[in-house]
C-alpha cells in the first residue's frame, strides 16, 4: 500500500491557551513494501504522526492518501483504515485482556466482522507469523506467558486483521537483548516474506539503522531529514541537532573521517570496518 502524506499539521487543543502544535507541514511518501524507520526524540511528533496514519486522529490540516484515496476526508470509514494500517502501540502486551491467547488475537478480526470459520484460521496464521506455535498457545491465558511472548501475541493480534501496512511504536522497549533480537528478526521476516510495508518507530538509532531502507527524522513536529541509512550517516551533524546520535559504528567512522581517515560511507559491520581502518592505516605508511 502506497502512503502519501501532504502538508500534515496537527494541533492539540486549537484555540485553547494550552494549544500545542505537534506536527507542522509534514510531507512524505512511502512506497508499497518499503521498510521505513521513523525516529525522533520524545515529543517530536512521532506518536501523533502514527496515530494520524492509523486514523485515530484527523490531521488539522493536510491530507493523507492511502493508495490514492484520501482518508483525511470526514466521510471515510475510519474502521476500514485501521484494518489496513495496523498499529502496534508501545508496550502492546498491556492491552491483552481475553481469557485465552486465541480469543485475544481474534479480537481484531471479530470486530471487523470476519466470519467465524475464518477467524480460527487467521489466529493460527498470525501466531505463526510471529514465530509462536498455535497448538501449544491457543488455549493458554495470555497472562501466564513470558514478557517477550506476550509482546509477540499482541503483535499477532494486529496481524490477524491482515493489515497492508504495519506500524510498530518502540516495539523492543524494555526487552532484554535476546528478546529484542528475536522480535526484530520476526519483523524483518514479515517484511521480506510477507512483503509487508513496515514503519518502525523508535528513538534507538541502532535498531532503526539495522533494518530500515529509508529513515525519516522528526524534530519538534517537523520532518528535518529523510534518506537511506548511508545518506543519514554522512550527516552526523544534522542528526545530532535533532537530539539524536548515530549508532556507535557509523559514529566512530564519521569521527575518523573528520580526522582525516578516508573511509567509505557504506560500512555496517565491525569486521568490515576493521579491514578498512587497517588498510587506511597502512596506506598512510606507503
Amino acid at each position: 500500500m502506497r502512503i502519501e502524506a501532504k502538508h500534515l499539521t496537527y494541533i492539540y487543543g486549537p484555540g485553547l491557551p494550552w494549544e500545542k502544535r505537534a506536527l507542522s507541514d509534514v510531507s512524505f511518501s512511502i512506497e508499497s513494501g518499503e521498510f521505513i524507520g521513523l525516529i525522533g526524540e520524545t515529543g517530536s511528533g512521532k506518536s501523533t504522526l502514527v496515530q494520524i496514519l492509523n486514523g485515530l486522529l484527523r490531521p488539522t490540516e493536510g491530507t493523507i492518501l492511502l493508495d490514492g484515496s484520501d482518508i483525511s476526508n470526514r466521510k471515510v470509514d475510519l474502521h476500514r483504515i485501521r484494518a489496513q494500517v495496523g498499529l502496534v502501540f508501545q508496550f502492546p502486551e498491556q492491552q491483552l485482556f481475553a481469557e485465552t491467547v486465541a480469543d485475544d488475537v481474534a479480537f481484531g478480526p471479530k470486530n471487523l466482522g470476519v466470519p467465524k470459520e475464518e477467524i480460527g484460521k487467521r489466529v493460527d496464521e498470525a501466531l505463526l507469523k510471529v514465530g509462536l506455535r498455535p497448538q501449544s498457545l491457543r488455549d493458554r491465558s495470555p497472562f501466564t506467558l513470558s514478557g517477550g511472548e506476550k509482546r509477540l501475541v499482541s503483535i499477532a493480534g494486529v496481524l490477524a486483521m491482515r493489515p497492508k501496512v504495519l506500524i510498530l511504536d518502540e516495539v523492543t522497549a524494555g526487552l532484554d537483548p535476546k528478546g529484542k533480537k528475536e522480535i526484530l528478526a520476526r519483523i524483518q521476516l514479515l517484511h521480506r516474506v510477507e512483503k509487508a510495508t513496515i514503519i518502525l518507530v523508535s528513538h534507538d538509532m541502532d535498531e532503526i539503522a539495522l533494518l530500515s531502507q529509508r529513515i525519516l527524522i522528526l524534530k519538534e513536529g517537523k520532518l528535518i531529514l529523510e534518506g537511506s541509512p548511508v545518506e543519514i550517516f554522512t550527516r552526523a551533524q544534522d542528526v545530532r541537532s535533532a537530539g539524536l546520535d548515530l549508532p556507535t559504528l557509523p559514529r566512530i567512522l564519521s569521527d575518523l573521517r573528520c580526522r582525516g581517515f578516508q573511509l567509505p560511507t557504506a560500512i555496517f559491520e565491525v569486521g568490515e570496518a576493521a579491514r578498512w581502518i587497517r588498510k587506511e592505516l597502512f596506506r598512510a605508511a606507503d
Binding site: 492509523n54 485501521r82 495496523g86 502501540f89 498491556q94 491483552l96 485482556f97 481475553a98 479480537f107
Partner: protein
C-alpha cells in the same frame, strides 16, 4: 445551574406537601409554601456546590488528606487505621493522572484493533469496554505491587514513628475562620427553627 439542582427544584415546586394553593391543574399544584421551599432548596444546593468548589480550589487534595490524618487521629484509639486511610487517599490522588493517561492509551489501542467503543448498540459497546477495563485492572494491580515494594524498600512501615515534611500549625487565621464557620452554623440552625410565617 446544575441539572440535579434544577430537577430537584422543579419537583419541589410542582409537588409541594402543604401550603396555600395558588394555581392547580390535574395533579400539579403550586402553593406559596412550595415556592418558598423550592427557592430554599435551589439555594441550598447551589451553596453546597459553591462551598465544595471553593474548598477544592483553595486547598490542595494533599493538604486535605494531611488534615484528615491529623484531625481524626483520635480515632486510632478505636482501632480505626486513620493513617492507612490517609495514605490510601494520597496514593489514589497521586495515581489518578497516571491511570487516566493509561486509560486513554488503552482505549486508543483497542479502537485501533476495531473495538466497538464509539459505535454500535449498548451491548456491543459494553463488550468493547471489557477490553479496556481488564487491561486497566491488570495494570493497576501491577502498579500497586511495584509501589508497595518501592515503599517498603524506603522503610515504610505504617504510621508509627513517622514525621511529616509539611508542618500543620493552628494559626490565628484558622481560629477566626473556625469561629466564623461556627457562627454561621448556629445562625442557620436558629433560622431553621423559626416558623416560616414569621418571615
Amino acid at each position: 445551574m446544575y441539572p440535579e439542582t434544577r430537577s430537584c427544584t422543579v419537583w419541589k415546586l410542582l409537588f409541594p406537601a402543604e401550603g396555600q394553593p395558588l394555581w392547580q391543574w390535574w395533579i400539579f399544584r403550586i402553593t406559596d409554601l412550595g415556592i418558598w421551599k423550592a427557592c430554599f432548596m435551589s439555594l441550598r444546593l447551589a451553596l453546597l456546590v459553591f462551598v465544595t468548589t471553593l474548598l477544592t480550589l483553595v486547598t490542595s487534595p494533599m493538604d486535605l488528606t494531611d488534615a484528615l490524618d491529623r484531625l481524626f487521629s483520635f480515632l486510632k484509639v478505636l482501632r480505626i487505621p486513620v493513617h492507612e486511610i490517609a495514605m490510601m487517599m494520597t496514593i489514589a490522588l497521586r495515581f489518578i493522572p497516571t491511570l487516566l493517561e493509561e486509560t486513554d492509551k488503552i482505549i486508543k489501542a483497542q479502537i485501533s484493533r476495531g473495538a466497538p467503543l464509539d459505535r454500535g448498540n449498548i451491548f456491543r459497546r459494553m463488550r468493547g469496554f471489557v477490553s479496556v477495563l481488564i487491561p486497566l485492572f491488570v495494570s493497576a494491580f501491577r502498579r500497586a505491587d511495584e509501589l508497595a515494594q518501592a515503599m517498603e524498600a524506603r522503610c515504610y512501615r505504617g504510621g508509627e514513628g513517622r514525621t511529616r515534611l509539611k508542618e500543620m500549625r493552628l494559626s490565628s487565621e484558622d481560629l477566626w475562620a473556625t469561629a466564623l464557620a461556627l457562627l454561621f452554623c448556629a445562625g442557620t440552625l436558629a433560622f431553621n427553627w423559626m416558623p416560616y410565617r414569621w418571615l
